[in-house]
């Protein structure tokens, strides 16, 4: 086949266009992984430069054209006004000259990080035009695109695994395009060979090929999408790899582990870390409250200001100076029997370093004498600790000599209240100013559709309780999935809640709780965001008290809604979790039943979020068929597996297709080790075999020399004849010299290279 001549067949043009689409796939993730705003100009530029290269415009025309086009792009990206005016044009040209001068000196100084965005963008334009030329060369000259495709898959897979970019669609596109590219290039090769032996095939693509190709591509994609994909059998290695690279437990923005202090950037996966935090002795499973946050920034939570009281002070009834409820003695509408005082004991794990208390419900008392903490390696009694209570967010912090002390053991008394729902429905909605001023805050740029959704959800309800439940129900609904892996991080201009509610619709507690708070606030209901731990796993069942183990995986966030006269009542919007607060449905209904219903063990499901995900997935798949499968494909935990499988399959196909090349490499490595003279015979036989495999076998009536002449003609060399003469001397003449192999190795390697 004459590879030196460029053929301008329509087929190659088609393949070239497909290659440009693959290039597009390279550009697509750029806005996600960098702060580049848009790629439209770059894609357009790629297509324009490809067109110019294809049309073989002379270089002295093409380069200025490309330069002008990139100037236009630079102007649109960085400049103002229209380029097509005297001012616009001169402005961009002057700017370019100025930037060029400035950046040239930066480059000269070796300070590449000092390059301006303008100039970097220009360099990207240059790079794109070079790549389009490279693609042209691959398609029209070498006729090989496999490694380009493979590189694309690897690139996309790496981005998908380690960044927020989602490649599930891209992989499908690449596979389909790749099928077509490789097949069409192969087809063109066959057509050329046919023409060389005089058989002409006039059709563009024979129909049989086309049908086979389409069927194969469809089948491959369909199998890829619908084939059952088992759960990964090993722990997701990505977080630990990231930890290894970044040196910490994964960056806060990308994924969350356990209970952290910083909630300013939410999103990313939730890592199931089973590391213990504390063991608690309690009468019933409860949520362990750590603190609340009140300011939603659009990306996460902050605290507006901290109102610390200097010590763990007690009010009149021995109550800690932090009020969850607006009452000390229950108001009339709450039965006394529904209010109970309970106690709990907490023993922190050695590795847990928390300086604030975790407590269930309204904290009544913490026995100072029973508190122990550790600071600087010493154990201190509670009497020697300073306590600060943040009256706004409920964080009760222990310190010693100004430094945070790590709490070890403490005993708590708390108030457990069962709320009568019908009374909650009757309550007024006159919130005190202190509440509305702080707990109705929303970011100014909250997307309108969030507010619209809040209004829509709550419009049919006439009281605060039902509105809160409506929002909670919406989040419990089938639109949302509980997942902990591959949870999106909002982009530069995106709102965390908006993204969850309308785009991804999948996430874990932070997504649900934040969304509920924002929706409630949008519906003028004061609400705040609470973080702490769920009840944990029951490890010991006692007569009165049970022992629970709480791990980092139990870290949780939920919602508290303000009810006038009552105070802050918790709600649980996260799917698969139950509200630990008790509500009484109605006096007429058997109380036990209701309580049982609400008393469901909260710890039961929460430790196993995957269980939830599975059931949800199965239901969806049954109900929605293809849509669900596509969703799932585009979805979460499977993506890596699919990617890996795909990569392996493509790699195997690639190895099969390129087996000559791979074998050649192997043999070249293998024989290069040997230095003996007799290696020559084996190496020569191997070469003959490979050439035969390459499509030029030796006919049995052919002598080696005739064959060597033929091969030299095919590959335009003379080395095969020379190698053959050495072999003849050794084989037919029995005349060997000591350096037959070493002195002919170069020739042999040359031929090995040549036959591919």
């Amino acid at each position: 086949m004459n590879r030196g001549v460029i053929s301008y067949s329509l087929l190659h043009l088609f393949v070239y266009i497909l290659a440009l689409f693959i290039l597009w796939e390279w550009l697509r993730p750029i806005p996600i992984v960098t702060d580049t705003a848009e790629i439209g100009w770059f894609v357009a530029f790629a297509f324009v430069s490809a067109a110019l290269i294809y049309l073989r415009i002379p270089l002295y025309v093409m380069l200025p054209l490309l330069f002008l086009f990139s100037l236009w792009g630079l102007h649109e990206l960085f400049g103002e006004g229209t380029l097509f005016s005297r001012e616009g044009a001169s402005a961009v040209i002057w700017r370019f000259i100025e930037e060029f001068r400035q950046n040239a000196s930066v480059i000269w100084g070796g300070d590449f990080s000092g390059l301006t965005n303008f100039f970097r963008t220009f360099l990207l334009f240059v790079l794109i035009s070079l790549i389009t030329y490279l693609l042209y060369y691959w398609v029209f000259q070498t006729r090989r695109v496999f490694f380009f495709l493979l590189a694309t898959i690897v690139y996309i897979t790496v981005l998908d695994t380690f960044t927020e970019a989602d490649a599930s669609q891209a992989v499908v596109r690449i596979v389909v395009i790749g099928f077509f590219m490789i097949t069409l290039l192969h087809l063109s090769g066959i057509q050329e060979e046919e023409q060389m032996i005089g058989r002409r095939s006039k059709t563009f693509v024979p129909a049989a090929w086309l049908y086979t190709l389409i069927i194969m591509a469809t089948a491959a994609v369909a199998v890829g999408m619908f084939a059952p994909k088992p759960e990964p059998q090993w722990d997701d290695p990505v977080p630990s790899m990231q930890a290894f690279v970044t040196g910490d437990g994964g960056s806060e923005t990308v994924s969350r582990v356990g209970y952290g202090d910083n909630d300013e950037e939410l999103g990313g996966g939730f890592i199931q870390d089973e590391g213990p935090v504390f063991e608690a002795l309690a009468e019933e499973p409860v949520y362990w409250r750590g603190e609340t946050k009140d300011v939603y920034t659009g990306r996460g939570w902050e605290t507006s200001n901290e109102d610390f009281r200097d010590s763990l002070t007690y009010g009149a009834e021995g109550q800690i100076d932090y009020y969850l409820y607006d009452f000390i003695e229950p108001p009339d509408f709450i039965d006394e029997e529904d209010v109970s005082r309970r106690s709990a004991e907490i023993a922190m794990a050695d590795e847990a370093e928390f300086s604030h208390l975790f407590y269930p419900g309204q904290l009544l008392n913490a026995e100072i004498g029973n508190i122990t903490a550790e600071t600087g390696g010493e154990t201190i009694s509670g009497n020697d600790l300073d306590f600060q209570t943040d009256r706004l967010n409920g964080r009760i912090n222990a310190s010693s000599a100004g430094a945070d002390a790590h709490l070890q053991n403490y005993t708590l008394d708390y108030m457990d209240v069962t709320f009568p729902i019908h009374e909650l429905r009757e309550l007024s909605e006159d919130d005190p100013d202190g509440i509305t001023g702080r707990y109705l805050q929303l970011p100014d740029d909250l997307p309108e559709r969030v507010i619209d959704l809040a209004a829509e959800l709550t419009e049919d309800e006439d009281n605060r309780y039902d509105r809160a439940v409506a929002v909670e129900d919406h989040l419990h609904g089938p639109d949302f999935d509980y997942v902990t892996e591959d949870v999106a991080v909002p982009g530069e201009d995106e709102d965390y809640v908006d993204q969850f509610l309308f785009e991804t619709q999948e996430g874990y507690c932070d997504n649900y709780s934040t969304a509920m708070v924002v929706l409630l606030r949008a519906a003028d209901i004061p609400a705040r965001w609470v973080k702490g731990f769920t009840a944990g796993e029951e490890i010991e069942n006692g007569e009165d008290m049970n022992r629970y183990e709480v791990t980092n995986a139990n870290a949780h966030s939920w919602v508290e809604v303000y009810f006038p006269e009552v105070g802050w009542i918790p709600f649980e919007p996260t799917q698969g979790f139950d509200n630990y607060a008790d509500f009484e449905e109605d006096f007429d209904i058997d109380i036990d039943d209701t309580e049982d219903e609400n008393d469901e063990q909260p710890g039961e499901q929460e430790n196993d979020p995957f269980l939830n995900e599975d059931t949800a997935d199965n239901e969806r798949e049954g109900a929605e068929g293809i849509g669900a499968a596509v969703d799932r494909f585009a979805g979460t935990g499977f993506t890596e597996l699919i990617m890996i499988t795909l990569a392996v399959v493509i790699l195997s196909i690639g190895m099969y297709v390129n087996k000559h090349r791979i074998l050649r490499r192997v043999y070249m490595q293998y024989y290069s080790v040997f230095k003996q003279d007799k290696t020559f015979d084996a190496a020569y036989s191997r070469l003959l075999w490979l050439i035969g495999d390459r499509g030029y076998p030796k006919r049995s009536d052919e002598t080696l020399r005739e064959y060597a002449h033929r091969i030299d003609k095919v590959f335009r060399t003379s080395e095969m004849t020379k190698l053959t003469e050495v072999y003849e001397r050794r084989y037919y003449g029995g005349v060997t010299t000591d350096d037959d192999w070493l002195s002919n190795k170069d020739r042999w390697e040359f031929m090995m290279e040549k036959i591919n």
């Binding site: 030796k698 049995s700 002598t703 001397r729 037919y732």
Partner: protein, 321 residues
């Protein structure tokens, strides 16, 4: 077999010189010259089947002059007697003794022209000399010269007034080939050379007879590996089994093919035979040694085609030792 595949790059230097010398006279017949030299070195003889005037005499004379050998030409006619070939004892009346007069066959290089025009008796006398390397006259055996090369020509047998050589005797010749007409450019070249005076007059010896004898000895030293010998036998025995052949080549053909291959390998500057040598020489060695079925002849199959067919079906030895 392609014409140009035998390159002369690694040719034995003395042979190369000899060929170049002969080529000053004979234009464009390198292969035939080379074959003649191979025959000379392996002690064989050549049968040319050709029309008159294509340069047979020139080839033989040029070769004889180049190696300083004496050269005789015998024009076979129907009335030629055996003694005209071998020589005769005549009674010298002065000395009153029989005195032997050498026949033309007692030279180094003999051109036996139109051998099929003479009677079988005379033909037999020549052929016996070829085979035995000696002639017996009046009960006395006389050795022939060495080196000794006979180039016999015969007109294509369709011509009238000929005595075709008995097939059984044809295998006394090592090779049979044609010289054939030159191409236009070669003929033009030839005319240019003979325009002033014939180049044969100026040709000088480049080798001595001693050189040739030494070379003959060296050529006999050329080795043939077992694989190559098997290849020779495979080729020869295939002639006996071929469906178009009624009489295949004899074991003498195997010997001839091997010794010719040795000389050819020597000419190529090698000390061992490669299958290419055998494959190249096989048609020249074998085609006059087989007799086709009469129905094969009727279907215009020729000996050349049969040999070609055989070569194409015998695999060349190659592989692990």
């Amino acid at each position: 077999m392609s014409e140009n595949q035998q390159n002369h790059v690694s040719l034995h230097p003395a042979i190369d010189q000899l060929i170049t010398n002969i080529e000053t006279v004979v234009v464009g017949k390198t292969r035939e010259i080379e074959l003649s030299i191979v025959a000379l070195l392996s002690g064989g003889h050549v049968l040319l089947e050709d029309v008159p005037g294509v340069g047979k005499t020139m080839l033989v004379r040029a070769m004889a002059k180049s190696i300083g050998a004496d050269f005789k030409r015998i024009q076979f006619t129907p009335d030629l007697l055996p003694s005209d070939v071998t020589g005769v004892s005549v009674f010298n009346q002065k000395t009153m003794e029989f005195q032997f007069r050498k026949g033309p066959v007692m030279s180094h290089i003999v051109l036996a022209d139109e051998i099929n025009r003479t009677s079988p008796k005379t033909q037999a006398a020549l052929l016996e000399a070829l085979e035995e390397g000696s002639v017996t006259i009046d009960g006395e055996t006389r050795m022939l010269q060495s080196p000794f090369l006979v180039m016999a020509t015969q007109n294509p047998i369709e011509y009238s007034g000929t005595y075709p050589l008995p097939e059984a005797q044809l295998d006394r010749f090592l090779f049979k080939f044609r010289i054939g007409y030159p191409t236009k450019s070669e003929e033009l070249d030839m005319l240019g050379r003979v325009e002033k005076h014939h180049p044969i007059e100026n040709i000088q010896p480049v080798l001595s007879l001693e050189d040739i004898l030494a070379m003959k000895k060296e050529a006999a030293e050329v080795t043939a590996s077992e694989k190559v010998k098997e290849y020779i036998i495979d080729l020869v025995s295939a002639t006996r089994e071929h469906h178009n052949v009624s009489l295949g080549a004899s074991p003498r053909a195997s010997i001839a093919l091997m010794s010719a291959s040795q000389a050819y390998a020597y000419v190529q500057g090698r000390s061992y035979i490669i299958p290419d040598d055998v494959k190249y020489l096989a048609p020249y060695v074998l085609q006059h040694r087989i007799i086709l079925h009469s129905d094969a002849k009727l279907s215009s199959t020729t000996n050349e085609r049969v040999i070609k067919d055989i070569i194409e079906h015998i695999s060349v030895p190659f592989g692990d030792k």
